[in-house]
Amino acid sequence: MSEAQNLDNKNQLDTATEAGISRLTPEKIKKVVDCVIKRETGVRFETYMQTCIHCGLCSEACHFYLSHDNDPHYSPAGKIKQTIWELIKRKGNVDRDFIRRAVRIAHTECNLCKRCALYCPFGIDIAYMMLVMRRILHKLAVTPLYIQDTAHSHSVTMNQMWVKGDEWVDTVQWQEEEAQDEIYNLRIPLEKHGSEIMYSVIAPEPKFQAQLIYQAAIIMNTAGIDWTMPAGVGWDNSDMAMYTGDNEIMGRVKRAHFEAASRLKVKKIVMGECGHAYRSVADMGNRWLGWSMPPVPVVHAIEFYYDLLKSGKIKIAKKYEKPVTLHDPCNVVRGAGLHEKARYVANQLCDKVVEMIPNREHNYCCGAGGGVINCGPAFKLSRTEGNSVKAEQLFNAKSRGAMTLIAPCHNCHSGLHDIVHHYEVGLELKFFSDIIYECMEKPEDK
């Protein structure tokens, strides 16, 4: 315990979270803990609590543990011990220092990547336990500033980045216009009722990475897809409220997304290269709303590109020459089993694919997902230093020839970007869509 306290003294949280912690009283903490544990958890939580035999076998699953020289404070069970176990043992009678440490552990030292679920002999879902902790922290109003602000944005605008209604449509139309320089009759149809596909993105695309919308438009138009994008709320499929434990807002945002698809009467939703959004749409958000599976089928970009390439709707003019290595994002590989399709896409697009080791379900997390990167710059260093094992994995792929790193997920992309720079790995980062756009056959201009 004393080690943990030392760790904490070195690490203050951001001022807004500290302000939240300073408002806590022992009574308030106990009340919230009791309320969440009694009313919101059930058999699953109890079984996990009773089943864990404290074997420590989950440890090597975690990139934080591996990156901190096997410091047990960072092992999955070790993190649960410092948070949930202690809370239950002490029946919620914990102090502010405990909560401060819990914020740091639950929000910045666990990516909820579920790799540990593959290592626990009992199949204990440690990420779920961590989400229970985050739910408690949400109810205590001590969620880290940046991600809390993001949850506020979701609550107001139904998107992640405070993008206003006019800004969204304006950006899409701007990208349409830009892309018309390349394909004269290219369209990004807004609000086209009865289209086959609704294409949804995450708010960082219109905000910072509008070229991804441009590329998607080129791909859609070349492949002759009957598609649309919503002009109103629901265009953003992301959901950081899912990661702050604000389940009510998570559900509200997901409802907006599915209702946009339902309103437009599309057959399916295709989403861009984002992992957590897939988790929120096809796993957590739908469940909160009572939909056992997404009511409108959700197709992740990897699967969509796979279909386009397999059916010949997209043809590759010249394969990407530089050797690539492929990062398997947790939410669409451990979360959706898209690893083989991702390999098919990579092999169709590129001359040479160098496998990372480990890979597929066992790939190391990017360190950014699970809302960790969204906790803001204050935690950037601990995030990158907490994932040196990823850098080693990347260096290894590079030593076997890889020059480009494909990360088909926004969070992974940003997290790997930080790792590549921090450790000077020297790999060029790409989305699949970057390479498809670069290598595909495009229609001749009129």
Binding site: E40, K81, P121, G123, D283, G337
Partner: protein, 219 residues
């Protein structure tokens, strides 16, 4: 001493079995009654196929990545659990008692092998105990209860071994053996030893989630 022996071999044994069985029964009832509260989806995703896939995979030595990563631990774990479950059931001494009481009998282990298996269980408990102290990642998540559980598990085997081999007052040792065995049985439903039952549920749930919903392997 005879009175004590009779008491331990009679009412107390019944009490232990009743506690063991009713404890497990009650746990199961509790599990199924509460399964939909408040998480209404748990049963919804249950899949026999994927549940069994996961259980069988994890009950096969070296069939999962993590078993392969820890060969020594894996060997000890599987042999330990095998010996733990097989030895008491097929021990000739136990079968004789049951035969005398209910005229029921079955194949028994050769005594030498039973002795060896008993020593393996005891040795494994020592291994697990040392592992808890030596390995930092295990030590960190270990508390006193983990050692107590190891003692509870090892005690019937230690006392049984001593009683059989007639070391230190055999009758007293037999009483101690029965008592410790009863404590172990009774403790299973009420301590984390119930992982022997809950394993199948947590594994089946995770197996179902990974197989049916996530289309990925959970090993």
């Amino acid at each position: 001493m005879n009175v004590i022996y009779q008491f331990v071999a009679g009412p107390l044994a019944w009490a232990a079995f009743i506690l063991f069985l009713s404890g497990i029964f009650l746990r199961m009832i509790q599990l199924f009654v509460k399964v939909n509260q408040p998480e209404k989806f748990l049963l919804h995703y249950f899949s026999l196929r994927y549940g069994l896939r996961s259980i069988i995979r994890w009950l096969t030595p070296f069939a999962t990545t993590n078993w392969r990563k820890h060969p020594v631990f894996t060997v000890v774990t599987f042999i330990f659990h095998g010996c733990l479950l097989i030895t008491p059931v097929f021990l000739s001494g136990h079968v004789v008692l049951i035969d005398e009481a209910w005229s029921l009998s079955w194949w028994t282990l050769p005594d030498g092998l039973a002795d060896l298996m008993t020593l393996i269980v005891i040795g494994s408990c020592v291994f697990f105990g040392i592992r808890r102290i030596v390995r930092p990642e295990v030590r960190f998540v270990t508390d006193a209860s983990d050692f107590i559980l190891l003692v509870i598990v090892a005690a019937p085997f230690i006392t049984g071994f001593l009683a059989y081999n007639q070391w230190f007052g055999a009758t007293w040792m037999t009483i101690a053996h029965m008592l410790s065995g009863q404590i172990l049985l009774a403790a299973i439903p009420f301590t984390r030893l119930n992982h022997i039952i809950l394993f199948f549920f947590s594994r089946a749930y995770m197996g179902s989630e990974f197989g049916k919903v996530r289309h990925a392997r959970d090993w």
